[in-house]
Subunit: 288 residues, 2 copies
């Protein structure tokens, strides 16, 4: 069984690639030239004898989501059009595949206080007119994949791991001058990568999955875990509130949200409780 990985040069794709390497899972990295059209996708699947395709390709702004406001075309193409091109290519080739989506299409909690499930429509999207351009395009990408056959849509949310990386949430919390205290569900990057592969291995039902570690944490709780682990000596500073943060540090609204990952857990995917997962990464900080 051979995986085809798209977007392997990115943060999530790199984690998936290294997970496959460690597990001895055969895979081939597919380049951007494989995604020009559905025909190119189907051709690449055939040429490289891909059994399952995983797309970690997408457009995230660098250094952060504010950059997407300036690169709307690439953002729309990478996050909303590309998933549709892959869908058409994979449906033509009749293979199972998965798309890395994002939990950033929600804000807050459900009105009943619970986390959002896969059955809740996005509430941080163009359709609510309250979002960043990035979140808007990610939600459109999910609309494009609604009803896709043999397709997993895995929602990642603020990835973290034990290794320092500018994209690693734990490193961000340690390095930012000031922090916004907000409650979020998060994804252990390596558990996320394993869950993507396991979706196929276990043959769980196709569809949408929130792949976040069970529970949620506030930024202040993450800071406490960092202090307890003794990873860094510094005084952590916080913005007064979201208005202060928006005024001083951000150009476009951020999603902060709590997701319910019980569908993924019920299907047999392994995601450990969020505080445990963070503490574990901090204990191993700097080691893979």
């Amino acid at each position: 069984m051979r995986f085809g990985i798209l977007g392997a040069g990115g943060y999530v794709g790199g984690a998936l690639k290294s997970y496959c390497e460690r597990q001895g899972i055969p895979f081939v990295v597919l380049g951007r030239d494989s995604t020009t059209s559905p025909q190119h996708v189907a051709q690449a699947i055939e040429t490289h004898r891909v059994d399952y395709l995983i797309s970690c390709a997408g457009y995230t702004g660098k250094p952060n989501v504010d950059a997407c406001e300036l690169h709307k075309t690439d953002c729309l193409h990478g996050n909303a059009v590309l998933p549709g091109v892959l869908r058409q290519g994979c449906e033509a080739a009749d293979i199972s595949w998965g798309h890395v989506s994002s939990g950033c299409i929600y804000t807050g909690r459900r009105s009943d206080g619970d986390g959002f499930t896969e059955a809740d429509p996005p509430n941080f999207s163009f359709r609510q007119n309250n979002c960043s351009f990035y979140s808007g395009t990610k939600a459109l990408g999910e609309e494009v994949l609604a009803g896709a056959s043999k397709c997993y849509v895995w929602r990642l949310r603020i990835p973290f791991e034990a290794l320092p990386n500018p994209r690693n949430y734990l490193q961000k919390v340690m390095s930012y001058d000031s922090l916004l205290d907000a409650e979020n569900s998060l994804s252990d990057l390596h558990q996320f990568a394993a869950a993507c592969v396991d979706s196929f291995r276990l043959g769980i039902p196709y569809g949408f999955y929130n792949l976040t570690n069970p529970g949620s944490v506030t930024t202040r709780e993450v800071v406490e875990l960092i202090k307890q682990a003794g990873v860094i000596e510094k005084e952590f500073r916080f913005f007064q509130d979201e208005d202060d943060f928006m005024r001083k540090a951000a150009k476009t609204p951020r999603s902060n949200c709590v997701l319910d990952s019980s569908k993924a857990l019920g299907a047999g995917l392994k995601l450990t409780p969020i505080r445990e997962a963070i503490a574990d990464c901090l204990m191993r900080w700097g080691k893979a």
Copy 2:
């Protein structure tokens, strides 16, 4: 001065092409392969020595806008991503260009009873969550072009002309089994094509223009004009109301709206009052 025309195989592009032919205006038709990337666009502009580019390319559902709900990827690409690719290519080549947009990103009239001007934000778009997928992508395309340099955005709205064509509004009114009575601003297709070319010839300020014939008409008024012209003998039937229409004939909401074209008129573009323009086409019905 040589024009490059994109989308010349479509209804609007065909009209633009025939206008240029009749006027002896030099032009070259650019194919879809010119639009793969901004680099391809800039290259095509150089290779074909294009002074002004006009893009009539876009994705409209066939036979109508309902089809866009089933072809979301192509619709997003053609209407929202492609304008951004062209913008980048034309900005790199530093030429003036224009994009055919649509008035279908509005519904109704302004709250003060007037038609919508270019300063009014779209009110029939993803951001209002009240629109067809088609209108949503057209409004996103305008967001992508906000602040573009040396760029015209021309809003077409329900094109009509003297020649029978399945896309011609007058033919639609004559051929549909039942009609929805609604008030709209409309665009005389050939006046629209002339106004696009005249934008460059007159050197009017870059930016957004509603290119609709001044005023508005209801479907019943158009039927009366058709009867007066004696073009067809038939009994015209109407849906009871919009609910009846949506239930029996449509899968996705339609835009019906009144636009204000005084900015275009003030700039010197020629658009005759809507009833005159319709009556003139009906008088010449079947002749170019």
